[in-house]
């Protein structure tokens, strides 16, 4: 490494002083162009794909932490994550039989989500919830509510919601949920510094 560095440092010397100055100028100009490029904001974008209770827990611990640090937080609910975070189902009346059937098969609300490991037909989850209560660790529904109270913006992937027979109505517990597509997710993710897929 050292010989390379020496060669780099020595490279401009054979040239005249003027060309060194012009090269420096062009480098400064390039840096300035980079600095004035796309707006970077202090935001965190989390794509919540998994409906597993433990993964959602991790996602919402990060969402809460980021919101508490004053960062803008976008949570994008897609597929199983969307299904697991819905509230008690809105109105069943106007849904097709297939939509209703899928609705019954998916967990309704974060309290019903399953552990990805050690679920043990629900016993494992109860065990961990008992431990969490004893240790002052917030439970998933509380974390989700806290995130909403802290101003975390929840977006619902319109396409997967439609596939799973979910409606915006089913998410009234999550504040002003906005329907979104991949473009709005990418725009928000590109603006921020942190993007997570959980």
């Amino acid at each position: 490494m050292v010989p390379d560095l020496e060669r780099d440092a020595a490279a401009p010397t054979p040239q005249s002083g003027g060309s060194v100055a012009s090269e420096l100028e062009s480098r400064v100009a390039a840096l300035e162009a980079r600095a004035s490029g796309p707006v970077v904001e202090d935001s965190v974008s989390i794509a919540c794909f998994s409906g597993d209770w433990d993964r959602l827990f991790a996602a919402f611990v990060i969402a809460n932490g980021a919101a508490a640090m004053g960062q803008t937080v976008h949570v994008f609910l897609t597929f199983w994550g969307a299904a697991a975070l819905r509230d008690a189902v809105g109105s069943w009346g106007d849904r097709s039989a297939i939509d209703r059937l899928i609705g019954y098969m998916l967990p309704a609300g974060p309290a019903r989500a399953r552990l990805s490991r050690m679920h043990w037909f629900g016993l494992g989850k109860r065990f961990f919830e008992w431990r969490m209560r004893r240790r002052g660790v917030p439970l998933l529904p509380d974390l989700v509510q806290e995130a909403v109270d802290l101003g975390v913006q929840v977006h619902l992937c319109e396409m997967s919601a439609d596939l799973l027979g979910l409606r915006l109505d089913d998410f009234r517990n999550l504040g002003d949920v906005e329907p979104c597509g991949v473009a709005s997710f990418l725009r928000d993710a590109t603006r921020g510094r942190v993007t997570l897929f959980i």
Binding site: D42, N64, G65, A67, A68, M69, Q71, R135, P138, E146
Partner: protein, 83 residues
Amino acid sequence: MSQHRIDARGMKCPRPIVELAKARRRAAPGDVLEIRADDLAFDRDVVAWCETTGCELLELRRDVEGARATIQLPGAGGSGGGA
């Protein structure tokens, strides 16, 4: 300028910093927050929280009862930032 006390003892991550953030919303610029917490991650977290939100960590002590941090919010005319 007033002082706000928060007792986050018995709370685990991320609750202590969430409580800090809530207290900060209620407080006025330049106010002082005093928080007690016994979560072992709190010492490092409170430093990171202050750095990110532009608050000044006046004091951080840890004794047998846990940690005690004193934090000053950026003043109305101060240069401190944060959302």
